[in-house]
């Protein structure tokens, strides 16, 4: 630094022309130019590449993030669309199921009604049949009891009307007839 100051002081003393008239210190200007170039060189050599690299990375990250966001948005949109499609499909299927269930329930109700009607008819028919059977049995029982009563009455009447002589005569007559 000391060397630069000395050089600047010497240069200032030597040149006092146009620049001096303008109030510009040529040596100082040169030094500043050199310092600037050195600074530019250093910046270009060490700082700008790192900075540009950082900027590029940042830009790449931002682009990637933007792309991911776009992709996510697109995916969300697709997902939404798919969800809507699935919902529509599910609604349609649900509607079909409900419709089928209604139809089946109606068919089941009709079948149940038919079955119940058939069962009722069969019960009535069985009841009629049983009643007819019971009536026939009762008639038969009445008939048989009447026969029993007639036989009993005949037995009593015959026993009352019969005596030894009549019986003997009847037996003799029957034997003669059979011979």
């Amino acid at each position: 630094m000391t060397f630069i100051r000395q050089f600047a002081a010497e240069t200032a003393e030597a040149e006092t022309g146009l620049f001096g008239a303008l109030g510009i210190d040529v040596r100082l200007l040169i030094l500043q130019i050199i310092a600037f170039l050195i600074l530019v060189f250093l910046l270009g050599k060490f700082v700008y590449p790192w900075l540009m690299k950082q900027v590029d990375e940042r830009q790449a990250n931002i682009e990637a993030a933007a792309e991911a966001a776009t992709s996510a948005q697109k995916s969300a949109a697709e997902s939404q669309e798919q969800t809507a499609h699935l919902l529509a499909k599910a609604r349609k299927e649900a509607a079909e199921i409900v419709s089928t269930a209604k139809l089946e329930s109606t068919e089941i109700m009709i079948a149940s009604e038919k079955k119940a009607k058939k069962s009722a008819e069969r019960i009535v028919s069985d009841a009629h049949s049983q009643i007819d059977k019971d009536i026939a049995n009762a008639k038969k029982e009445l008939h048989n009891q009447t026969i029993e009563l007639i036989a009993l009455a005949t037995e009593k009447v015959t026993a009352g009307a019969l005596d030894g002589k009549i019986d003997n005569d009847r037996i003799t007559k029957a034997l003669k007839e059979s011979q």
Binding site: K140, H143, I147, T154, E155, D167, R170, L175, Q179
Partner: protein
Amino acid sequence: MARRVSRRVLAEYVAEVIVGGGDMPLTTQQLAAHLVVTRRTKELDMIMRDVSFILADKGIVSGTVISAYELAQETKKAIQSYVADVSKAKSISLSYQLDQAVIGGYKVSLPGSQIDRTISHQLTQLKTRFKKV
């Protein structure tokens, strides 16, 4: 200990004695003694039934007549004649019993057959014929 004799042999022996006119009281005693000794008194009815069958085969028929009232001699003769005609037997021996349950008519029980001309039997037949099953 007496030897066990079959029922058939006993019946044939008794039947032979009856047909041959042997000593019936003695035969009866012998049969009774044999049955008592061999503890077969319960077989007596069956032996007598066998005897009846054997006698019937030999033309000697014994039977029972059941009636509700006492039968007159003429009626008895008519029944005997009828039984002789039906069974084709040489000799017929009938015993008579009274049973009010038959109401009227007669029933002759012979070995292996029966002639039922009672009113109760006829009523039963009528009932059976007209009853509905």
